[in-house]
């Protein structure tokens, strides 16, 4: 290519790892106000600010230590005691103590506008320099994952204490992470590795983030201009990996969730489980994954990924539903529904459902596949209703949809199902931030509450199995295909990357601790 790829220029390419960020626009904004309600913050702020814990997706999405070395709940599940790792320092040399942790955890409590991580505790209190407690109102065994959220980072109290967070953009961030900010330009951000990082020594001295577009990143990867990028690459196996199988890595790590069809149980006809079942049974998931060029990634009906939740999932419910028109028709008949002229009819009322989806995810064609399927199998004419991102969320939150395409999933079984709590249900027309499908079920409420009040793994698994059955039976949502962390790596410069077959951490930029672990394992290649 004619582009100056810049070998050996500023920063020393050999010692640098470059990340082509595709989802942050064309420029970066110098904003390390990491707790602010901004959607776009400075890129890779999680390499500077770290959370207390991490979620291990290689192992049932359980929570593992990070800055916190260990923790335990009291029996009631309302008081969590956390023990911090010793020897952690901020990049300005100050030690990281319980004071900083308590300050960081109490920030969103004291200033709700900075409560972006969805915290549920009431207060954090220092016990000693390396110990503190977190108090909950209700049993909260299941919610410890919130401390693994990178949106709940540990910030230095001595720097942050006196700042007005409504205006402060934290231009010179000081954190516990492995990197410090070297230079911030809108079109390139350069981080320098610390030599006193608690987790060990990084193999690279510089980490550079450049903004790029999804398409451009692909070309840059092919040319080796960048080392890592992320995002799905349809047919990436042929178009990328096949060209240099050794160095061109296109990796998919299941994130445990799925893209699902969510039904609006808040209004007819989808308040009727028969209708929900019938439609869920007649989605041609294979057609979708075929056009996605991700064969074999159809989701099972539970919403739990069979790989991630191998130990948790009911094997009988793991397989994706095939298209079963007869069963679906029987369901409709059971519910007393007929299909007339493309509409669902019952008791003289006739419904023409629509399917809401996000235009910006180019989802219209998948909607078409579903619509075609429903027409062909059941004769129901479902109208497509694409919306740009903003309108999509609006419609979804207000319950202004019949069927919508939405991502489901979360950390752990509770994380996946927690949103179905009927506490979150509001009438159609009012904005709901959770359970937009407005499904309420007493049994589900009971299971969710039980999950929150225990940290006994066996009990949790039992609850999980009950919940799976309930979901498969009631179909509040119907998973379509698995969601993944898509990672594209050009391993010409750095080797030692994990692979989806064998990983302890995902090399996904943005999953702070996982990325750090990945980087610690890398080695520069020769040449």
């Amino acid at each position: 290519g004619g582009s100056p790829s810049g070998e050996g220029t500023a920063g020393g390419r050999d010692d640098t790892m470059i990340y082509g960020k595709t989802d942050g626009g064309t420029t970066f904004v110098h904003n390390y106000n990491v707790v602010g309600p901004a959607v776009d913050k400075a890129p890779n702020m999680e390499l500077i600010y770290e959370p207390l814990m991490r979620v291990d997706y290689s192992n049932g999405a359980v929570v593992e230590p990070w800055l916190a070395e260990s923790w335990e709940f009291d029996d009631a599940g309302t008081m969590l005691t956390v023990h911090l790792r010793d020897g952690v320092t901020f990049s300005d040399g100050e030690p990281f103590t319980a004071d900083d942790a308590v300050f960081s955890l109490n920030l969103p409590i004291e200033q709700p506008e900075f409560s972006i991580a969805g915290v549920t505790y009431e207060k954090a209190e220092k016990v000693d320099d390396l110990t503190f407690t977190v108090r909950f109102a209700a049993p909260s065994f299941a919610t410890v994952k919130q401390f693994a959220n990178i949106l709940l980072p540990m910030v230095p109290e001595h720097v942050w204490r006196d700042q007005d967070l409504n205006t402060w953009t934290n231009p010179e961030p000081v954190g516990t992470g492995p990197f410090t900010l070297a230079e911030f330009k809108p079109q390139q951000v350069t981080l320098t590795a610390r030599d006193d990082y608690w987790g060990g020594e990084l193999p690279m001295s510089t980490y550079k983030i450049i903004p790029t577009s999804a398409d451009a990143a692909k070309a840059q990867l092919l040319r080796g201009d960048i080392d890592i990028a992320q995002g799905s690459w349809a047919n990436g196996e042929q178009e990328y990996t096949a060209k240099d199988p050794e160095h061109n890595l296109y990796q998919l790590y299941p994130n445990g969730g799925a893209m699902s069809a969510m039904f609006n149980a808040g209004k007819p006809p989808f308040d009727d489980v028969h209708v929900r079942r019938a439609l869920a049974m007649t989605v041609d998931r294979t057609a979708i994954t075929t056009t996605l060029q991700r064969p074999g990634t159809e989701s099972g009906p539970t919403g739990l990924n069979a790989t991630v939740y191998a130990d948790w999932i009911n094997p009988e419910l793991a397989d994706p539903w095939p298209v079963d028109a007869e069963a679906a028709k029987a369901e409709l008949a059971d519910g007393g529904w007929t299909v007339e002229d493309g509409a669902l009819v019952k008791d003289g009322e006739s419904y023409r459902p629509t399917i809401l989806f996000n235009n910006d995810w180019a989802w219209g064609s998948y909607a078409d596949i579903m619509i075609n399927g429903w027409r062909d199998t059941l004769g129901i004419e479902v109208e497509p209703a694409g919306q740009p991102t903003a309108g999509y969320y609006d419609a979804m939150n207000l319950g202004d949809f019949d069927i919508t395409a939405a991502s489901t999933g979360g950390a752990g079984v509770y994380g996946v199902y927690g949103f179905l709590d009927s506490d979150f249900v509001v009438p159609v027309g009012e904005s709901a931030t959770l359970n937009q499908g407005r499904w309420s079920n007493a049994e589900a409420d009971e299971i969710i509450a039980a999950m929150e009040s225990t940290d006994d793994e066996a009990e949790l698994k039992e609850l999980g199995l009950r919940m799976q059955e309930l979901v498969v039976d009631e179909v509040p949502f119907s998973p379509l295909y698995d969601n993944f962390y898509f990672v594209e790596i050009n391993a010409k410069r750095w080797s030692g990357w994990p692979t989806p077959d064998d990983f302890d951490h995902i090399p996904f930029v943005g999953m702070g601790p996982d990325l750090i672990l990945t980087m610690l394992d890398l080695e520069p290649t020769e040449g």
Partner: protein
């Protein structure tokens, strides 16, 4: 006396642009208030999407408090808005809270100015130049090829040309980079490699815009030249025995060019619109991409800020065109 008159004309135009700017400000103020949607819920939804976490309702309330209460009385809001504008405070970006919109806009503006500025000038020069030639030789082979061809070229949507250009010159041939404003391996600064890189990265977007925009000028200029060439003063210039070049330049082209300046506003509008689209194709770090992003993420303050700046810049460019027109046309006619 003449100078006074010219200044008078400009002052009047200035008055118009001030009024237009005022209208833009009012529009900018009213639009978000007349339209459905509010920034606070947008921000919460975005957060939810990005973090995959549940955002509690208290957060929504608190965020509401930051971005202004939609239930405040309109007049009060307007006064407050004007006060903000006077301080060049365009509000705080939702997506990049708490970074001020003005900072982001100012960061993106130079790139767009560079792109739109140079391409407008280039397209104008190229278009009018070729237009004069085609118009002078109206009916010639050159004209009969160039004119319909240009009609076709100027009919191709900007972003489509951009896509094709990206494909051919970026992917297939690899001559030009695919996104960004300059090579990430270079340090920003006023040095040769950096400037060369800026040129290299800007070349394809610029070429795209010039490609799509020059046709309009060409066609307009051709028609004006054809009309002007038939004017008596051109006939007289020929009768005077002036050289052909002089007749074309000083008599035909010089006069044929004038209406281009009155049409500038419309042409500029098209170029700006096209440039916005082109920027998104090339991920060029300008205002267009900023607008695109703020639209996608429903960053209302940013949308407003960008629109205001784009409008003011357009008005300013038009004022410049008017000034140039005054210099070029001693008659300072009111209409073109």
């Amino acid at each position: 006396m003449r100078a006074v008159r010219r200044w008078g004309f400009l002052l009047r135009r200035l008055g118009f642009y001030v009024a237009a700017a005022a209208a833009a400000i009012v529009l900018n103020f009213l639009l978000p208030r007349l339209m459905p949607g509010d920034p606070s819920s947008a921000i919460v939804e975005e957060l939810q999407r990005v973090s995959g976490q549940q955002v509690p309702p208290e957060t929504l309330e608190s965020i509401r408090a930051i971005f202004g209460d939609p239930d405040q009385n309109l007049a009060q809001q307007f006064v407050g808005y004007l006060g903000q504008l006077a301080r060049f405070d365009l509000g705080v970006s939702v997506v990049n809270f708490p970074v001020p919109v003005s900072e982001l806009v100012l960061q993106a503006l130079p790139w767009t100015l560079l792109l739109v500025g140079t391409t407008t000038v280039l397209a104008f020069v190229l278009g009018t130049g070729l237009g004069v030639i085609a118009g002078w030789k109206a009916g010639s082979r050159l004209d009969s090829v160039l004119t319909p061809l240009t009609a076709f070229l100027s009919s191709v949507p900007y972003f489509w040309v951009a896509l094709l250009a990206l494909w051919v010159f970026g992917f297939v041939l690899g001559w030009f980079p695919l996104s960004g404003g300059y090579d990430a391996n270079l340090a920003e600064g006023f040095n040769l490699p950096f400037l060369a890189s800026v040129l290299h990265y800007g070349a394809l977007p610029a070429a795209t815009i010039v490609f799509s925009a020059f046709g309009g000028w060409l066609l307009g200029m051709r028609n004006m030249t054809v009309t002007t060439v038939r004017e008596d003063y051109v006939l007289l210039a020929q009768a005077k025995g002036l050289s052909r070049g002089r007749v074309i330049l000083r008599y035909a082209a010089r006069n044929a060019m004038l209406p281009s300046f009155t049409g500038f506003a419309m042409a500029l509008g098209g170029v700006i619109g096209g440039a916005l689209l082109t920027e998104t194709v090339f991920s060029y770090p300008g205002i267009g991409y900023l607008l695109f992003e703020s639209l996608n993420k429903r960053d209302y303050p940013m949308m407003q800020g960008v629109f205001l700046i784009v409008t003011l810049a357009t008005l300013l460019a038009n004022l410049l065109a008017d000034s140039l027109y005054v210099v070029l046309d001693p008659r300072i006619r009111e209409q073109g």
